[in-house]
């Protein structure tokens, strides 16, 4: 692990700000950008890069979750239920990372970047359609006490995993039911393993799965995924911390940067033209993926 000078610390702070801002605009935790930067630009070994990233993911998801809870889009019951599976996955992934060869981890990371780039490229365009298909909408005030997900012990467990929220963009009250809990649980476990193994949030797997397979509207799926990610990341963060793979200097510089960056990004989000930015970064991720594959296979 290269020792961290004050200049590098300031540089990492700036990188953190950029990662946080870009992450907030693109709707990712930023781990997919941070790990390649630490690895390729700072020469940080992958297991330390993952340790730094997983702490950063805890920070961003906490910062973003505070805002989402304000708007009531995160489904806490569904999130907590799926956290069983993400935490189990994160524990398995975090323990496996200790024994796996760094080159193998780099290869897996490169492989995960590919679907991430594709999801990023296609995002936004499909958002409105899938939300409309997945949920029924009502005008505000018509739901009352019999709302989906409300506390009534006589109703079924699955029924209580549904939810509702007000969508400020369409001025509608969206009510949805959960379908295929097993699919959500399976994907959550896989996302947890990837999170523990690679130091990413895993939202790239969960959000499309919750939306397409489980019928959760995209906004609720994204908010619930972010809500869950803090716990998922914490589950493996303790393992990395215990193995001394979280360098306090590197990690805190990035964490502070990312928290500030995610505030800036949330502000920029109101003005940014999402589609073009997403496509630029999708191409960038594709390039990083190729570079990482090359690195993993050549061992350089």
């Amino acid at each position: 692990m290269p020792p961290l000078g004050l200049t590098d610390a300031l540089l990492l702070l700036v990188i953190g700000v950029l990662t946080g801002a870009v992450g907030a605009v693109l709707g990712t935790g930023g781990g997919v950008f941070l790990i390649p930067i630490l690895l390729l630009c700072f020469g940080v070994p992958i297991k330390y890069a993952v340790g730094t990233s997983i702490l950063t993911v805890v920070a961003t998801s906490t910062a973003v979750a505070i805002g989402n809870l304000d708007r009531g889009t995160a489904n806490m019951r569904l999130g907590m239920t799926l956290e069983i599976f993400t935490s189990l996955g994160a524990l398995s992934g975090g323990m496996a990372a200790a024994v796996l060869a760094p080159r193998l981890l780099e290869g897996v990371f490169a492989a995960v970047l590919l679907p991430t780039a594709i999801v990023m490229w296609r995002k936004r365009a499909g958002d409105a359609d899938s939300a409309a298909k997945a949920a029924t909408t009502r005008s505000p005030g018509t739901v009352g006490q019999t709302a989906v997900g409300s506390h009534d012990p006589t109703r079924g467990f699955l029924e209580r995993l549904g939810g509702e929220y007000d969508d400020p963009a369409t001025h509608q009250h969206v009510v949805y039911r959960l379908h295929r809990l097993w699919a959500g649980a399976t994907i959550s476990f896989i996302a947890g393993v990837m999170s523990g193994l690679l130091g990413i949030g895993g939202g790239v797997f969960k959000v499309p799965a919750l939306n397409i397979l489980c019928g959760v509207p995209i906004k609720a799926a994204a908010a619930t995924s972010t809500f869950m990610i803090g716990v998922t990341a914490a589950a493996s963060a303790f393992l990395y911390f215990g193995r001394d793979q979280v360098d306090p200097g590197y990690t805190t510089a990035v964490v502070i940067g990312v928290v500030v960056g995610s505030w800036i990004g949330a502000y920029l989000n109101r003005f940014a033209r999402g589609m073009l930015i997403k496509r630029v970064f999708a191409v960038l991720l594709l390039g990083v993926s190729v570079e990482m594959f090359f690195r993993a296979f050549s061992g350089q």
């Binding site: 805890v58 303790f238 911390f241 805190t252």
Partner: protein, 113 residues
């Protein structure tokens, strides 16, 4: 109290927990950096004395305590929901939250043990 009001209260408690945890962690990290820049890095004593080193003004140890606090913030959020649902006699989801809390406890044990 209606169900919607109760949900609102619970989500407020969760938000407050996250805000307090994140703010405290960020403050400690900033203090740690100020100490390092003004007084230097401090000693490289073993991790087990982390908290006493932090109390004695060791910058790196203060940074680490900030990171520990950051990791504990989501754990505290699970605990708040577990207790909140228990108080509302929503036993199914309280049990689920306590189970998640157990898994996180296992992670802490594996990490520090």
């Amino acid at each position: 109290m209606s169900d919607e009001e109760e949900n609102e209260r619970l989500s407020k408690a969760v938000r407050r927990t996250l805000q307090i945890g994140l703010t405290a962690a960020v403050v400690l990290i900033v203090v740690g950096w100020v100490v390092i820049v003004t007084k230097g890095r401090g000693s490289d004593a073993p991790e087990t004395r982390l908290f006493s080193r932090a109390l004695h003004g060791d910058g790196t140890a203060i940074l680490s305590v900030g990171l520990v606090l950051l990791m504990l913030t989501p754990v505290a959020r699970v605990a708040v929901l577990a207790i909140g649902w228990l108080l509302r006699r929503d036993f199914t989801f309280s049990l689920i939250a306590f189970f998640v809390l157990t898994l996180l406890g296992l992670s802490v044990l594996l990490g520090t043990g």
